[in-house]
């Protein structure tokens, strides 16, 4: 097992109370698996991704364990996590375009970062350049300032830097959101290539755009309002989802070749529940077409078929 997350709970502290963004999440990730983490805005997927590597000021660890390659990740301890960051677990942030210090040349920035982590820059610079070329950049980038690079170039540079030390787990947070469609495809394919070449063992690709996941992910984990809904191989999620939420999600996507007149896009009526004081039991209850009284009790996230996990009373029967 590469990653094992068990009943993880991470809340946000606010003046009005705790926002229960990640509220009891359990899943596994195998070696070499690229898992897409999908869901609506505000469902907690970014929080989940971040909690594995970097708890920001307002995030509060409540409970649960995370194991990476068999060894526990002390995510509640900021200082202790430093040992693991970058080397065992890394992240490509959502704000990759502005993640580079504007007053430092790329080469110098990377050198200082590596040295501060006790890694020799000189030993790694050749590999660094090689990977930059892999993503379509040249070694000239080393002598440039971030503002001399375009958005896409900065994104790719950050991708290379984040994976330079070959981490076991990479968290890619909405890395295609700010790009145009053709660049999205290129970047997504780069991710797969990184995995195939062994730069990264496993990946969690966080996005609200399922179409990207359909191209690169091995499995997809669907999240809703702080809880997990369904996890299955990509083809299963896309073609035969079982959770009512996933079903609705997939059917709300436009299909290629289908015209509006033939089949209308269906949305999901209602809004996700507020996580400040979430409803008891299954959080999709209010919008679910097959909800019953049993759904007042939270359904466990368990395996229904091999490799297919689900949190629903009605379907998992």
């Amino acid at each position: 097992m590469s990653l094992a997350v068990d009943d993880l709970q991470v809340y946000y502290r606010t003046l009005h109370g705790d926002v229960r963004a990640v509220d009891g999440v359990t899943f596994d990730l195998a070696d070499g698996e690229i898992m897409g983490l999908a869901g609506e805005s505000g469902c907690g997927k970014s929080s989940l991704g971040h909690s594995l590597i970097y708890l920001t000021g307002r995030m509060k660890y409540i409970g649960g364990t995370v194991d990476l390659d068999g060894a526990p990740l002390p995510i509640w301890d900021f200082e202790a996590m430093n040992e693991h960051r970058f080397k065992r677990i890394s992240v490509i942030p959502q704000y990759a375009m502005s993640a580079l210090n504007p007053t430092r040349k790329i080469g110098r920035l990377t050198a200082e970062l590596l040295r501060s982590r006790g890694v020799s820059y000189r030993d790694n610079v050749k590999e660094f350049v090689r990977r930059l070329e892999l993503v379509g950049l040249t070694d000239e980038v080393l002598e440039m300032y971030p503002m001399e690079l375009s958005g896409g170039m900065k994104q790719r540079t950050v991708m290379v830097i984040s994976t330079l030390l070959n981490p076991s787990l990479l968290i890619a947070d909405e890395i295609t959101s700010a790009l145009d469609v053709s660049t999205q495809k290129a970047v997504a394919e780069m991710l797969v290539e990184f995995r195939d070449r062994g730069f990264v063992k496993s990946m969690i690709v966080i996005t609200h755009d399922i179409s990207i996941l359909s191209q690169v992910a091995d499995t997809i984990l669907v999240m809703y309002a702080g809880h997990l809904a369904e996890k299955a191989p990509t083809s299963v999620i896309i073609n035969s989802p079982q959770h009512p939420y996933t079903k609705r999600l997939i059917s709300s996507l436009p299909e290629v070749g289908v015209r509006y007149a033939e089949k209308r896009l269906t949305g999901i009526p209602g809004v996700p529940p507020r996580l400040l004081d979430p409803p008891k039991g299954c959080r999709f209850r209010d919008r679910c077409p097959i909800a019953t009284a049993k759904c007042l009790e939270r359904p466990p996230f368990r395996e229904t078929e091999s490799g297919h996990e689900l949190a629903c009373w009605e379907v998992a029967a």
Partner: protein, 331 residues
């Protein structure tokens, strides 16, 4: 880059012309006649002689010429370095008064500005680091920066010079000192220089410290800081970047703060009777010695413009963004 600097240079020249024009025009716009003031000082009894002297003065100050000609001659004499003659310290030319006083003012200003900038920034960075330091240094910093320079000087003089006898009360050197390049004189000079310098230095420090502290907090919240932390970079690397990036606006801040520090230096000199430009201005104002006032004003303007230009150059060198942006470097 040269275009940018040339553009700045152009603005400074424009400013200089504007300043000279203002300087020349103010006495002409103000009520009163400087010559009459002069006459009042001399008190001539005989009206015929008075008339004669009046005409003479008007001629020597060019006041009998049409305005535009006066303006032209003003520029001419300016180019020749002739800033007129002092009325109070007649017949000393204004330029020589300025040249004798300027070194003292610069001797206070330059170290005070540079050191307060450096120390203030370091202190601000320190305060941003630890909550404990922040809670003590911050209110102190605000008190200092809100303190009027002259009051601070007054308190310093009263406490340390007059009450505790730790420093001289004023002047640049003791009346009994023998001038020259010997160690006793130099020590004496420094002893007299210390309190006025401290007064300027401490008040200015407060402002820089607070500014830096705010800037660093802002930088520490930026995306690049978060990214580095997510990659496990130690705090000191993040702080180092934050500090260096926060310094940039402080460099431009230097140019903006010049005016305030100069004003501070002027009044500090008054309190300490330190024979710099401030002291001369004070005497000139009290005695309506207009040419001295105008001359010192021009001198200050030129100094500020030069300093601004130097700071502009330094900023372009130090901030890669402006340099690259100007050379049009975008992929």
């Amino acid at each position: 880059m040269t275009r940018y600097l040339l553009r700045k240079f152009f603005i400074y020249c424009l400013t200089f012309v504007a300043a000279v024009t203002i300087d020349w025009s103010i006495p002409h716009l103000m009520p009163g006649n400087p010559v009459l003031t002069l006459m009042g000082r001399i008190q001539i009894q005989d009206p015929q002689v008075a008339q004669h002297v009046y005409a003479n003065y008007m001629r020597s100050f060019n006041l009998d010429l049409p305005l535009w000609k006066q303006y032209y001659y003003f520029w001419v004499s300016l180019v020749h370095g002739d800033l007129g003659t002092s009325i109070l310290q007649f017949p000393s030319p204004v330029s020589s008064i300025i040249l004798h006083a300027a070194p003292y003012t610069l001797g206070l200003l330059v170290p005070a500005i540079l050191l307060s900038w450096y120390v203030g920034n370091k202190l601000g960075a320190l305060a941003a680091r630890r909550k404990v330091l922040d809670n003590t240094l911050l209110p102190f910093g605000y008190m200092l920066t809100a303190t009027p320079y002259m009051w601070f000087s007054i308190v310093l003089v009263w406490v340390f010079a007059i009450t505790l006898h730790l420093a001289p009360v004023g002047f640049a050197y003791s009346p009994t000192a023998i001038r020259g390049f010997n160690t006793t004189f130099i020590f004496d000079l420094l002893h007299h220089w210390l309190l006025p310098f401290l007064s300027l230095f401490l008040v200015a420090c407060g402002g820089w410290a607070i500014g830096m502290r705010n800037l660093i907090i802002y930088e520490l919240e930026s995306d690049y800081a978060h990214y580095l932390e997510a990659l496990g970079a130690p705090r000191r690397l993040v702080r180092k970047y934050a500090f260096r990036n926060a310094l940039l606006p402080q460099v431009t801040g230097l140019a903006l703060a010049l005016g305030a520090v100069i004003a501070g230096a002027l009044v500090t000199e008054i309190v300490f009777s330190y024979p710099g430009l401030g002291y001369q201005i004070y005497r000139a104002i009290t005695n309506e010695d207009y040419f001295v006032i105008q001359g010192i004003f021009l001198f200050i303007i030129v100094g500020v413009l030069i300093a601004n230009f130097i700071i502009d150059i330094v900023y372009v060198i130090v901030d890669p963004r402006t340099r690259i942006g100007m050379e049009g470097g975008q992929a």
